[in-house]
C-alpha cells in the first residue's frame, strides 16, 4: 500500500477512535448522572438542578439566567443548591465545578449537564429537549 495513503488511514482511524471514545464517555457520564440523580428522589416533571457556590462570579450571572427562565417555565421544577453546603447532593450528582446545571426529564433521566455558565438559549433548548423526550411516544421508543 502507498505509505502516504496508509498514514492518512492511520490519522482517520485515530480521529474516528477519538470521536467514538468521546461519545461513549459522554453517554456513560449521562447514564452515571441519571443513576445518581434517581438515588436522590423521584421526579414527576422536568426539573433543573442548579449548583452554585461562594466566591463564584459566574454563579451570579447563572442565577439571573435561571430566575429568568423560571418565570417563563412554570411546568419546570427548579432546585437550587449551594455546593459548599449541600455537600451530599453535590457529591451524589458529581458536581466538579460551579456553576453546574443538570436538566432532568420526567423519568429522572439526566438529559444534559453543564459544568460551566450557560446562557438562557442553551438552557431553554435543553429543557425543551427534556420535555420532548418525556412525551409518551418518545418514552415508548426509548423502552
Amino acid at each position: 500500500m502507498n505509505p502516504t495513503l496508509l498514514r492518512l488511514l492511520i490519522v482517520v482511524a485515530l480521529g474516528g477512535f477519538a470521536v467514538l471514545g468521546f461519545r461513549v464517555w459522554k453517554a456513560w457520564s449521562l447514564r452515571e448522572s441519571t443513576r445518581r440523580v434517581r438515588a436522590i428522589g423521584d421526579t414527576s416533571q422536568v426539573s433543573v438542578m442548579y449548583f452554585s457556590g461562594p466566591n463564584c462570579a459566574q454563579c451570579t450571572a447563572q442565577e439571573a439566567v435561571i430566575r429568568q427562565i423560571e418565570r417563563g417555565e412554570p411546568s419546570v421544577e427548579f432546585a437550587s443548591y449551594d455546593a459548599s453546603v449541600d455537600l451530599e447532593v453535590a457529591s451524589r450528582v458529581g458536581v466538579m465545578s460551579v456553576p453546574t446545571t443538570v436538566i432532568v426529564d420526567k423519568t429522572g433521566r439526566v438529559h444534559a449537564r453543564n459544568g460551566r455558565f450557560v446562557n438562557a438559549e442553551i438552557l431553554l433548548t435543553q429543557i425543551k429537549a427534556a420535555k420532548a423526550s418525556s412525551e409518551p411516544a418518545n418514552l415508548a421508543r426509548r423502552g
Binding site: F22, N55, A57, Q58, M96, S97
Partner: protein, 158 residues
C-alpha cells in the same frame, strides 16, 4: 493578578499545531515538525512574534474568528506552549537517532494534548503549571482562576 487572554488566539494556535503536525505525519515530512517546534519556541519566548498568533491577529481576527477575551493567566499557556515545543524537540532527537516510529508517537502526544485543549478546553500544560505553582516551585506564580477543575478553560467572558 489575572490579565485578559484571547482564547480564540490560543485555539487558532492549537488548530495550526494540530493541522501542520498531522500534515507532517501524512507526508512523512520531519522538517515540518522542526518548523512547528521553532514557531512554538519563538511564541513562548516572545509571544508577539509567534507566527500563528500573527496570522490570527492580521488575517483571521474579526474576519473569520471572533475574539474570545476572558480573564485568565497568560503564563500557564506560555508554559504549555514551551512544554509542547520541548516535547517536539524530543521527537526531533528521536528522528535524528533513527527512531522514526517513536518520534511520530511523541508528535502524536503533542497533537492529542493540543486537541484536548482545542475541543474540550483542557490544557494539560496549564494543569502542570498550576500544580507546580501550588507546590510553590520557583517561577510558577500564577494561581488558578475560578472554581473550575484545574487546567480547564475559565468560562467568564469579559
Amino acid at each position: 493578578m489575572a490579565r485578559l487572554v484571547d482564547h480564540s488566539a490560543l485555539r487558532t494556535n492549537q488548530a495550526f499545531i494540530i493541522g501542520l503536525l498531522v500534515l507532517a505525519f501524512i507526508a512523512d515530512w520531519v522538517a515540518m515538525v522542526a518548523i512547528v517546534a521553532v514557531v512554538m519556541t519563538v511564541g513562548t519566548i516572545w509571544p508577539k512574534a509567534g507566527l500563528f498568533k500573527i496570522i490570527y491577529e492580521r488575517l483571521l481576527m474579526d474576519r473569520v474568528v471572533a475574539p474570545d477575551v476572558i480573564a485568565d493567566n497568560p503564563q500557564p499557556h506560555r508554559f504549555s506552549q514551551g512544554f509542547g515545543a520541548t516535547v517536539l524537540g524530543v521527537a526531533l532527537v528521536l528522528f535524528a537517532v533513527a527512531a522514526p516510529v517513536l518520534g511520530w508517537v511523541v508528535v502524536g502526544v503533542v497533537v492529542a494534548l493540543a486537541a484536548l485543549n482545542l475541543f474540550l478546553g483542557f490544557c494539560a500544560g496549564c494543569y502542570l503549571y498550576y500544580r507546580l505553582a501550588r507546590a510553590n516551585v520557583s517561577g510558577f506564580k500564577a494561581l488558578p482562576m475560578g472554581d473550575g477543575p484545574l487546567g480547564m478553560r475559565p468560562r467568564q467572558s469579559s
